[in-house]
């Protein structure tokens, strides 16, 4: 049975159903419905909710809970996510599973509260210090956000790393009909022998740590992490292709912008222009091979990356295309969102030239 839910609340409910039993957060628009919902929902399933004194504390509470074996998460929006970067780096260094939701708003600085995609670099290129990555998803509907959130803890546990769900103000605030999956039984969750749950003594005691003073040891840790990222690339890369088979102009977009781009592709097709869309669902790992394969096709003339930013994902698109075809950019920022017509007109103007 489908229910009509706001994106933030649907993500929160999917988190609980996916096994989340601890949430630590701090208020910031446009994601407040996530902590508000979980503050009343988590106690119903024996979970814990704390409104932390800061984003810094919230992510470190996640560190402590995740280190002790709990399925813990936090959510925030761009300025708050900046504050969490220290903790995210430590979580990656200490190889802890958790989930972080970022309902992105415009920046830099306090920016605005409207939808944006200007945290792409921060999310997939690091954000915090050191060599690390997270598994990053960019859902484009509330249903997809629910499905991704539902399995996010399984992925985090499997790879012992944080999963970031990169939404935007639109995904968080829009109301859509969603099918909610059944609640997962924690008895089926993988056992965490490494977790510092307090039972360790002597040879059996566990240490959760990201400090490696010996250069050779730290280098080995870095290689271990990157071997895991190679596994991610192999097993978890996700994307959607739309009308790419005979496309001459290929749009690349993620998140809510991909829905706008999809409408634009349909309108362009109606006007006789062979447009297509490739939509990365995981931003890390990025679907580079899929994009490169499309770029190599003879029918493809050019790519247009479209984002709610000044152009961030376009760098990864260009790396993937690797000079095979031109890559253009159309973006809106400040919380402004393009319409399908804006994209159609951009393509038509380009075709005229």
């Amino acid at each position: 049975m489908k229910v009509l839910m706001k994106g933030n609340e649907a993500v929160a409910e999917a988190a609980v159903r996916g096994g989340c039993r601890a949430f630590f957060g701090y208020p910031i628009t446009p994601q407040n419905e996530i902590p508000e919902y979980l503050s009343r929902r988590l106690p119903e399933v024996g979970g814990c909710f704390i409104q932390a004194e800061s984003e810094v504390s919230a992510i470190n509470m996640v560190y402590g809970a995740a280190a002790a074996g709990a399925r813990a998460m936090t959510s925030s929006s761009s300025p708050g996510i900046s504050l969490k970067q220290e903790g995210i780096s430590y979580i990656c260094g200490a190889e802890l599973p958790c989930v972080i939701v970022n309902m992105v708003r415009g920046g830099p600085g306090l920016g605005g509260i409207q939808p944006a995609q200007s945290d792409y670099f921060q999310t997939v290129k690091g954000g915090g210090h050191g060599d690390y990555h997270m598994l990053v998803y960019a859902p484009n509907t509330v249903q997809e956000a629910v499905n991704i959130m539902y399995d996010a803890f399984d992925k985090a546990d499997a790879y012992r790393m944080p999963v970031m769900i990169l939404g935007d103000g639109m995904i968080g605030q829009i109301m859509e009909a969603v099918e909610l999956p059944p609640i997962k039984d924690p008895a089926n969750f993988p056992k965490k022998d490494w977790a510092t749950d307090g039972t360790g003594v002597g040879k059996d005691r566990r240490i959760v740590n990201s400090l490696y003073i010996e250069p050779d040891v730290l280098e080995e840790v870095n290689h271990r992490l990157f071997a895991r990222y190679d596994e991610l690339k192999k097993n978890e890369t996700r994307y959607e292709e739309f009308m790419c088979d005979d496309a001459e102009i290929v749009l690349v977009a993620y998140g809510t912008v991909a829905r706008i781009a999809k409408s634009a592709v349909s309108e362009l097709r109606a006007k006789g222009i062979k447009a297509g869309l490739i939509r990365p669902i995981t931003l890390y790992p990025f679907p580079s091979e899929a994009i490169n394969a499309i770029a190599a096709k003879d029918c493809v003339k050019s790519f247009i990356t479209t984002e709610l930013s000044m152009g961030q994902m376009i760098e990864d698109v260009k790396l993937a295309v690797n000079g095979l075809k031109p890559v253009d950019f159309y973006g809106r920022t400040g919380g402004n969102v393009m319409t399908p017509e804006d994209l159609v007109n951009y393509v038509l103007n380009k075709e005229d030239k």
């Binding site: 601890a22 800061s54 470190n60 809970a65 709990a70 749950d197 566990r206």
Partner: protein
């Protein structure tokens, strides 16, 4: 032959890395002895700070988490809230707790978070080589206050026990000194009480331990403990600042 002294089981066999004359070793032993005497072995999660005690995870014979600088009370909160039946303690220095981690300690105390915090105040940044701490005494020299700490330039030392005792959350706040046998014995009693309160579910408890740092103070170990006793206690008076059992 009768055994008159034994090393506690709650410390590992790893030798301490601490400098000669540093009182971290005493503080570790007191914490470990209290945990053993309370019979909570196999039920403890410790949180190590950033600072000289960063390697505490090598020494305490329990599950350990290493926290980011100043964040130990937040990390302890996450561990305790998801494992309420376990004894959770954070071990922090003065730079960690009283400078970069002020928000975390104040709010953990205000929430009455049911954890135990051991606060080592040696009035200096030890691990990084002797910089001025929030608790450095007026006139005290450090590598970043080479003419001595001045009120005009650096402000006054922060008195953590006095501050936290104004909050309703804590169940027990005490300051002790690791300066001589009598004071070490008092410190052990305070640490034990701080753990007993957690086990009884009474809420946040913190023991501040005035400690020595002969290496970065430029003193001999005996001069250093004399400095703790004669100078530090003037600015940081010893005593129990809050005890809900006596209110």
């Amino acid at each position: 032959m009768a055994v008159v002294f034994e090393k506690t089981n709650m410390l590992t066999e790893t030798p301490f890395h601490y400098c000669p004359g540093c009182t971290h070793g005493i503080a570790h032993r007191l914490v470990a002895e209290c945990l053993q005497e309370l019979g909570v072995e196999g039920n403890v999660i410790g949180i190590a700070p950033v600072g000289c005690a960063v390697f505490a995870y090598n020494y305490f014979n329990c599950d350990m988490q290493q926290a980011a600088h100043g964040r130990a009370p937040a990390v302890a909160t996450g561990a305790k809230r998801t494992n309420p039946d376990k004894v959770v303690f954070a071990y922090q220095g003065d730079g960690d707790l009283a400078s970069i981690g002020t928000a975390e300690i104040i709010h953990a105390a205000a929430r009455g978070e049911n954890i135990t915090v051991i606060f080592i105040n040696n009035a200096i940044y030890g691990m990084t080589g002797g910089q001025m701490a929030p608790t450095t005494l007026l006139g005290q020299k450090s590598t970043t206050s080479q003419a001595g700490r001045s009120v005009a330039l650096n402000g006054n030392p922060i008195k953590v026990c006095e501050m936290l005792a104004t909050l309703d959350g804590p169940s027990y706040i005490a300051r002790c000194a690791l300066s001589d046998t009598a004071n070490v014995n008092k410190a052990k009693k305070a640490i034990k009480k701080a753990f007993e309160n957690q086990i009884a579910g009474k809420g946040f408890a913190m023991v501040e331990l005035l400690s020595s740092c002969p290496t970065n103070w430029g003193m001999t170990p005996t001069q250093a403990v004399d400095f703790v006793k004669e100078e530090m206690t003037k600015v940081f008076p010893l005593g129990v600042y809050k005890d809900i059992d006596k209110e």
